[in-house]
């Protein structure tokens, strides 16, 4: 309704009298009587306030104003008027829930303190660093705080009214629902309901890294478009062609099984072959690794199939063929290829080897990957043709993560109604008419069916921080219903699920009908070898950022890549030889920081300019690798413009690289890559281990008057009494550690470790309390140098260069809690002292910051607060943000500038454990003793416990033949010890 009403202040305004205009121009209607006032000398001189009085008033008012401004900052702390029964201040509550963001799935326990989720613990499944870090993404102040209409703030009423109206008006085209893979049965049902109401709905699922090859091949082979589940623990032989199954391939759970199948104690250890281009995390853990160009993969897989069929095959595969044939039905062969034909050969190989129903279960498939590229292509052409009347996106960011993002953006213009349900006003959402922001997982209700028969539930652990609404709730509202919680509960109760118990546990199993599968028929076609002379590209995901949906999470940005050890960046990985051919290099500047050359990458009509080059050992010759997940432009202040976007190159095979002028500054946490012939990571082979369990675990001995004694039996000092009470120990199994970095994030979350940013990491001032050292083998060894009669100088300088075909080891290092601690003796103010439970303690309040302890630490695990990292605009990360600070663990103090900090072995958890045991009058259970790193470790490589408890796992490990102290010749008697690494190689 248009209104013509006019309001007026007076008749003059109504009549448009010019006086109104004149008055509006003059601030003062009358002249100020300044002259009159100052001119009246008589009056001025007779006034009672003198010049001195004036100054007094001036002085008083200035002082008063200044004092009034000096108010202590007000921190609002509002007590509960009525305290909820379940909340006791200081006591954590745990809720079982589920994390699923369209890519990573985990069944988790959420630790909440006073109503705030502060930590993710594992529940039915193991998680990864991104899941661990998602608790910080909850408190991301870059999240949308209200619905948007045309990028402007609006309210849900308006949005709902208009969307419903417009959705109903769509009649000349389809309504497209573009989502991530949906694993929620209730959401699937909801989408069905939604489709029923608007009967022209097209649901398209999209995985940021496509798995169409696997899915389509299974469709052809078995008649289901799903991926199988793999039991890596049951396999004796694992052959992976490029599939980084320990990090990002398909699911997050393989690592646990993989390590279960590699237990030297039981004498059974799978043999892992990795044939790949980039050095992946899986490749780094493989027993044998072969470097190939991506274009060779198809041929090699085909040749392997020939080999196991007894035909002639490529000689490089001879040992693999042999070992596969002798381990029938006890192997797994996988490939990361997105080519259906290649995956058909893989299926044929596994079928031929009898792996189905043994190590690979296609009849119990996983639901985590269901994206469909064909459907997406159809959607794109429909959009272009104007056949799509409305589009709703959920959990995806196609404008960023599609290889054809520009095409998508162009086609999006033809869609009349565009709705995003993103948490952020991201690359896609910012192109939409409406953004109906979804809740974060930790604010949502939900369910998940990650794989056949396995279910888990999601429950909110905090009331929504912002004016957001769950996607499912939006769907319900748009189908004129409401309340997703009731819907969900009813949905499961109708299926006969014990709702309360399942919600409490977080997961449940359901008996399901057996899947109807097609009989397997070999449909593979062999692939011929073809030579390529171009530089080939292999795209990968980093373990920190994955597909980049949590780009704005500073914890993940600062989590160093396990292989390159660089953070806050992506780059082009390249082998040293290829780099040399192209005139590219990496070099260290005067403070040690790493710099690299820049290149332009071109392929077809794509180009990325000024891409930094990272020389990576283990990269196949004439190939390059690039990580997706970076180069976001609308992620938020931490994620924007970090690195470059590699998604446009997703389907690109070969590229041209041209060197350009300039240099790039990396932030690398580790600048030196080899062990320099030192006995840091002790390792042996399985065969040696079976002969002698202590093989490779050589102890340093000292010559004494009693003869040669191992270092720990020679001491000048009095021993701490470690027999009475507890003796907290941490065992780290270097054979089990795959280097994934989950523990680093877990530690960061538990212990309020600050994020320092790229510049400070570049200055070697990262603050992580634990790090995962990665060492490459070098072509130069002490033995070789002796043989070649090299001088020590030459030997060491050659040792600095990692091999181009390196063996890789990972070693988590945190404070070793020495019982003869070098740091403790040197502190002038006794700020770091020893506990009678074997811990090295740091008293922040007492620390004056001489840093002598950090210098004298042989493991260099002590971290100094070079600046004030909290509430400092120079470090504008989560600790400088009112929302971001909500993730802080109230049990751990936030350290101030000028003090040293370090791993405390989660003393706050130990204390809680002891207090609980005291209250309950029960001795501490071994399983309850956990540090953040140990509890989050997917592969159980880190074991924590009380060594004075002879029933504890850690006591057993302490006395294992594989146990050794890092740098044992120093005889600092650490409470942390390592288990030798065992490789299953000849």
């Amino acid at each position: 309704m248009k209104t013509t009403k006019k309001y007026w202040k007076g008749l003059a305004q109504l009549n448009n009298d010019p006086i109104v205009e004149n008055l509006a121009q003059n601030e003062f209607v009358e002249q100020l009587p300044v002259d009159e006032f100052l001119g009246d000398q008589e009056n001025l001189s007779s006034t009672s306030s003198s010049r001195r009085d004036f100054l007094k008033f001036l002085g008083f008012s200035t002082a008063a104003a200044t004092l009034a401004a000096c108010e202590t900052p007000i921190v609002k702390s509002i007590p509960y008027l009525v305290k909820p029964d379940e909340i006791i201040p200081g006591v954590a509550n745990y809720y079982a829930s589920t994390i699923y963001d369209g890519r990573d799935y985990a069944s988790v326990l959420v630790k909440t303190r006073e109503g705030r989720p502060i930590k993710i613990e594992n529940n039915a499944t193991y998680s990864n660093s991104r899941v661990q870090a998602s608790v910080l993404s909850l408190y991301d102040s870059a999240r949308l705080k209200h619905p948007l209409k045309d990028s402007k703030e609006t309210n849900w009423r308006t949005v709902d009214l208009e969307i419903k109206e417009k959705l109903e008006a769509v009649n000349d085209g389809k309504i497209a629902l573009l989502t991530s893979t949906i694993i929620s049965p209730s959401t699937e049902n909801l989408i069905k309901d939604f489709s029923k109401k608007y009967n022209n709905v097209e649901h398209v699922m999209l995985d940021s890294t496509p798995y169409d090859g696997v899915l389509n091949a299974n469709m052809d082979s078995f008649g289901i478009r799903l991926a199988p589940t793999y039991s890596f623990d049951k396999a004796n032989v694992i052959v992976s062609f490029g599939a980084d199954f320990l990090a990002n391939w398909m699911e997050n759970e393989y690592a646990t099984d993989y390590v279960k199948g590699r237990n030297p104690k039981s004498g059974r250890m799978s043999k892992h072959y990795q044939i790949e281009t980039n050095l992946s995390l899986s490749g780094a853990n493989a027993d044998n690794r072969m470097q190939i160009k991506p274009s060779e993969q198809g041929f090699l897989i085909s040749s392997l199939y020939d080999g196991i069929q007894g035909k002639t095959f490529d000689k490089r595969l001879s040992s693999i063929v042999k070992v596969l044939q002798s381990n029938l039905s006890k192997s797994i062969v996988i490939s990361n290829s997105n080519d259906k034909n290649v995956q058909l050969i893989i299926n044929a190989i596994n079928q031929k080897l009898g792996n189905y129903n043994s190590t690979i279960s296609i009849n119990k498939p996983t639901n985590l990957k269901q994206g469909n590229a064909n459907k997406l292509d159809n959607l794109l052409s429909d959009m272009k043709a104007g056949n799509i009347g409305a589009i709703i996106t959920y959990n995806v960011n196609p404008s960023y993560s599609l290889a054809k993002a520009t095409e998508f953006n162009e086609a999006l213009k033809n869609v009349k109604l565009k709705i995003s349900t993103s948490l952020y006003n991201d690359e896609t959402a910012s192109l939409m008419d409406y953004v109906c922001p979804d809740h974060h997982n930790l604010e949502s209700w939900g369910d998940a069916n990650p794989k056949y028969g396995k279910y888990s539930l999601m429950q909110p652990t905090i009331s929504p921080l912002f004016n957001t609404r769950q996607f499912q709730e939006s769907l319900l509202v748009w189908t004129s219903r409401s309340d997703y919680f009731s819907y969900l509960k009813e949905f499961w109760i109708n299926k006969g699920v014990n709702w309360n118990k399942s919600l409490h546990d977080g997961f449940f199993d359901l008996k399901e009908n057996k899947l109807k599968l097609k009989r397997f028929v070999d449909q593979s076609q062999s692939i011929k070898s073809k030579k390529s002379n171009t530089i080939e590209l292999e795209i990968y995901e980093t373990i920190a950022l994955g597909d980049g949906c949590q780009s704005n999470n500073p914890w993940l940005q600062e989590l160093p890549d396990p292989i390159t050890r660089a953070c806050w960046d992506n780059y082009l990985t390249i082998s040293a030889t290829t780099a040399k051919e192209l005139g590219l290099s990496n070099w260290n500047v005067s403070n040690g920081a790493l710099n690299g050359s820049l290149v332009d990458i071109t392929a077809d009509n794509l180009v990325i300019r000024d891409v930094p080059v990272m020389i990576s050992p283990g990269q196949a010759l004439s190939t390059v690798g690039m990580a997706v997940g970076y180069g976001r432009t609308k992620a938020g202040k931490a994620g924007n413009n970090v690195g470059f976007n590699a998604f446009p190159f997703l389907n690109t095979k070969s590229v041209t690289i041209t060197k350009v002028e300039g240099k790039y500054e990396f932030a690398s946490i580790q600048l030196h890559h080899t062990m320099m012939g030192r006995d840091i990571v002790k390792e042996t082979t399985l065969a040696e281990y079976i002969k002698d369990p202590s093989s490779g675990n050589h102890r340093e001995t000292y010559a004494t008057y009693k003869g040669k004694l191992p270092s720990d039996q020679v001491s000048l000092y009095e021993e701490h009494d470690l027999e009475t009470g507890h003796f907290w120990n941490l065992s780290i199994d270097l054979s089990s550690c795959i280097g994934c970095g989950e523990c680093v994030i877990s530690c960061q979350a538990e212990n309020n470790v600050p994020v320092v940013g790229k510049e400070e990491v570049r200055k070697s001032r990262d603050m992580h309390w634990m790090r995962i050292d990665r060492y490459f083998s070098s072509d130069m060894t002490k033995e070789l140098s002796k043989k070649e009669k090299l001088s020590a100088i030459d030997m060491f300088s050659e040792m600095e260069d990692p091999s181009e075909k390196p063996e890789v080891v990972f070693q988590p290092v945190m404070c070793q809690h020495c019982n003869h601690a070098p740091c403790e003796t040197v502190c002038p103010v006794a700020a770091t002292t020893h506990s009678n439970e074997g811990l090295n303690q740091m008293t922040y309040n007492r620390c004056v910051g001489t840093r002598y302890c950090a210098n004298n630490c042989p493991y260099k695990v002590r971290r100094f607060n070079w600046f004030q990292y909290s509430d400092n605009d120079k470090f504008d990360f989560n600790m400088n943000d009112d929302y971001g600070k909500m993730v802080l663990n109230p049990d751990v103090v936030v350290r101030s500038r000028g003090v040293i900090e370090k791993c405390s072995m989660c003393i706050q958890k130990i204390q809680e454990l002891k207090l609980n045991a005291k209250k309950s009058g029960q001795p501490i259970k071994d399983a309850d003793a956990q540090t953040a790193c140990a509890s989050s470790c997917s592969t159980n490589a880190i074991v924590f416990g009380d060594s004075n408890n002879k029933d504890s796992e850690v006591w057993r490990l302490r006395n294992d033949e594989r146990a050794y102290d890092l740098l044992d010749h120093l005889n600092v008697k650490p409470s942390v010890f390592y288990q030798t690494k065992i490789r299953n190689k000849a």
């Binding site: 260290n588 290092v813 002038p828 004056v848 001489t850 840093r851 070079w866």
Partner: protein
């Protein structure tokens, strides 16, 4: 039979009488400063102020404004600290040890050498203070009875030993210096006119403690000097031994070395004498002391530099030998890395400035040249700074676990603070040269060959 011993070179030139000496020594205090003094003072004061600004910036922002990092936690701060402490060694050696050995030549230079000691220790003491993350809590390193509960300092820590060693050394040096100054202050007091400059007169009256030059005063003066010399002598050796224990008691390869105490003391004397030379060669020009600080003094000091320099060289080689002989791979690598690693240039500077260049003093012509000595003394100062840099930074930057290896690069703040202390040092020294009797004239007069020499010169006429 009349036997006359060989004539030693005179330590005071220019046929000075007692009165000449008094006049010469009092002139800088009574007169006006010359152009050189003002130029030098202006420069030093500017550097000093810049240093103050850099220190304020550090304390206000955090140690992060320096170039240090998680591996190299100490760099220029402690390098400068040890360098300054080392420089502070020559003064006490000259005044105490040479007094005990009856070396008369020390009298021309001991006052200034000791002033230098005190000013150098002031610079040195700054660094432990400002290198702290929370310098406002620096008093916690003193064993002050407190009400914080059972908090006490850690007597195991060499840093605490440092606190005691340096404060003891500083106080004994100040007292020793001051005792020597009393007769000279009295001399200036007596020359001051109470009408022309009453304030100054009052000041020097207070400073001279009522010295009247009675025989009893002289006797006590001599006794106290001897006692203090006896007390100060072990301190010369103890202070730097204890400073060296900051490193020697640690576990870091390249630090963990038993020869550090004597090695550091020798290095300290070496650098101390070099700095004395640098200063005195400037000072004798600026305040016209050419007659009292002669080439003979310089030559004696050059001999000491040659001697200590050679010993320091021996220590360097011993370190290398021990690294090889120990068979410890970490130790071996640490020293190989010093000489051939990324900081080879620092090691080379140290070796050439400290070991090779002082060998030029074997040549008499160089040993007895003011200009050559001045240049060489600068080299030694630089070399000794690099020695500490090499010990601290190159040992830390590559220690046990290669994963933590990194490098160090100073920032403008690091440089600013270092230059600031040089400015502060020279500011103090220049102020001293205008207000204090820069030569111990009372003592010096005891070696003026008055009667005999004068008789001889007169008889030759």
């Amino acid at each position: 039979m009349h036997k006359e011993s060989e004539i030693r070179d005179p330590l005071i030139l220019g046929n000075k009488t007692y009165h000449d000496i008094t006049r010469d020594i009092a002139r800088p205090v009574e007169g006006k400063a010359n152009k050189y003094w003002w130029i030098l003072f202006g420069l030093s004061a500017m550097l000093f102020l810049w240093g103050v600004a850099c220190i304020a910036y550090t304390i206000g922002t955090g140690i992060g404004v320096w170039g240090s990092n998680k591996t190299v936690n100490w760099a220029w701060d402690i390098t400068n600290f040890v360098w300054w402490i080392g420089i502070g060694h020559a003064g006490t050696l000259i005044s105490a040890v040479l007094l005990l050995f009856r070396q008369k030549w020390r009298m021309g230079i001991n006052r200034s050498a000791e002033a230098m000691t005190i000013f150098a220790v002031v610079q040195a003491a700054l660094f432990p203070l400002i290198h702290m993350g929370r310098p406002w809590l620096a008093y916690w390193v003193f064993p002050i009875p407190n009400q914080y509960g059972s908090l006490w300092v850690n007597f195991n820590s060499p840093l605490l030993w440092d606190v005691f060693a340096i404060s003891t050394y500083f106080s004994v040096s100040v007292v020793f210096w001051y005792i020597g100054l009393i007769p000279d202050f009295a001399m200036i007091r007596d020359r001051m006119s109470s009408t022309i400059s009453p304030m100054k007169k009052r000041l020097y009256t207070i400073l001279s403690f009522g010295w009247s030059g009675r025989a009893k005063h002289w006797q006590r003066f001599e006794e106290v000097s001897l006692v203090l010399a006896g007390l100060a002598t072990p301190l010369v050796f103890s202070v730097h031994s204890i400073v060296s224990m900051d490193f020697a008691t640690s576990v870091i390869p390249g630090w963990h070395t038993t020869i550090f105490p004597p090695y550091f003391v020798l290095g300290a004397l070496f650098s101390g004498f070099a700095m004395v030379e640098t200063l005195l060669i400037i000072m004798r020009k600026v305040v016209n002391m050419e007659a009292y600080i002669t080439i003979k003094h310089i030559e004696y000091m050059n001999v000491i530099i040659l001697f200590t320099g050679s010993l320091v060289g021996t220590a360097y080689i011993t370190e290398l030998f021990m690294a090889w002989y120990s068979g410890v791979e970490f130790e071996q690598y640490a020293f190989l890395n010093r000489a051939t690693g990324p900081y080879w240039w620092a090691y080379l500077s140290m070796m050439s400035c400290n070991v090779m260049i002082p060998q030029l003093y074997w040549i008499r012509k160089i040993r007895t040249s003011f200009i050559a000595t001045f240049i060489l003394s600068i080299f030694v100062n630089i070399g000794m700074w690099f020695e500490r840099f090499v010990i601290i930074v190159t040992s830390l930057h590559r220690d046990f676990l290669p994963s933590a290896w990194t490098m160090f690069s100073p920032t403008f703040v690091d440089a600013g603070i270092f230059l600031g202390t040089i400015g502060f040092f020279f500011t103090l020294f220049l102020l001293y040269s205008r207000t204090f009797p820069v030569v111990a004239q009372a003592e010096l007069k005891t070696i003026l060959k008055s009667s005999g020499s004068e008789f001889k010169t007169r008889s030759h006429e």
